[in-house]
């Protein structure tokens, strides 16, 4: 069978077709995997689900932060005389209670991680050069780790009788 027969229609000759067939009941044609089908040979992790978890975290932490941060603002700026009452003695009174320690700790971690992940997105959006992006993110992660550690240390080591 010559190729020119079907060339006009743009379809080549079909393998194994024609006067003889290479495949039969005793010699079946090999199975061809559907494209993109996951098999044992596909790498386990392609890129992971990091961005999806990040997306979910922004939403879950956001809901919790509504309560934590708006509650915090209400206590600090509105109730009991507003900002005017704030001072060392006021903080000592609040951190005498494990409830408010836990509140501030959760607020610190969630707000810093939420804000830091948000800023990561912003950097990815605007810093187009790879080196700029890496430097900005390095700076961001350093600031985030530093702030979380410092804030946590301050809550746990607070000493009302420092003087």
């Amino acid at each position: 069978m010559s190729t020119t027969d079907t060339a006009a229609s743009g379809i080549g000759p079909v393998e194994g077709s024609g006067s003889f067939s290479a495949y039969g009941v005793d010699n079946p044609a090999p199975l061809i995997e559907a494209p993109r089908k996951r098999t044992k040979k596909t790498p386990k992790s392609t890129r992971g689900n990091f961005e999806m978890y990040g997306w979910l975290f922004m939403r879950l932490s956001g809901i919790v932060l509504v309560v934590l941060v708006l509650g915090h603002l209400l206590i600090q700026l509105v109730l009991d005389g507003g900002v005017s009452k704030i001072g060392f003695a006021f903080v000592a009174g609040r951190w005498a209670s494990p409830w408010w320690q836990a509140w501030d700790l959760a607020m610190l971690w969630l707000a810093m991680l939420h804000g830091s992940n948000g800023l990561r997105t912003v950097i990815n959006d605007y810093a187009e050069r790879t080196t700029t992006r890496l430097w900005l993110k390095g700076l961001l992660y350093t600031a985030t780790v530093f702030t979380i550690l410092l804030g946590t240390l301050v809550i746990f080591t607070f000493d009302p009788n420092i003087r």
């Binding site: 507003g82 900002v83 001072g87 903080v91 702030t147 804030g151 607070f158 003087r163």
Partner: protein, 126 residues
């Protein structure tokens, strides 16, 4: 504005811009805020000295601005969550945005006296 666009230049885009700007502002505030709170580990006097600046009329205005940023980011954040998870969210995104703006205006009005009252009294006497 280019014709026939559903997003660019419309409410959806501007609420996204505002959400981004407020989020970044709050983050920078929080960084400074943890530093100033850390002064309780230095000495009561140093802490009180720095917190005194929080009570001046000009900083009171900044605090009012911070409250404005957080209230918008929080309310609009809930709207974004509703758009993503509620099946009818995308359809009502515009109505939800105007609800956010409405609630924000009411809360900002309510915050006027608590946040700025002391500054007002200091500047105008009484």
């Amino acid at each position: 504005m280019p014709a026939g666009t559903l997003y660019r230049g419309r409410e959806g885009m501007w609420s996204w811009v505002a959400h981004r700007v407020t989020g970044v502002l709050i983050f920078f505030f929080l960084f400074v805020h943890v530093l100033d709170t850390a002064l309780v580990r230095v000495s009561p006097e140093d802490y009180d000295k720095v917190v005194a600046t929080y009570k001046t009329p000009i900083v009171a205005l900044l605090e009012y601005g911070l409250v404005a940023a957080i209230l918008f980011h929080a309310l609009n954040g809930l709207r974004v969550i509703a758009v993503d998870f509620w099946s009818k969210g995308p359809r009502y995104q515009k109505q939800m945005l105007w609800s956010v703006v409405g609630i924000w205006v009411v809360l900002m009005f309510g915050a006027l006296y608590p946040v700025l009252g002391h500054a007002f009294r200091e500047v105008f006497g009484s």
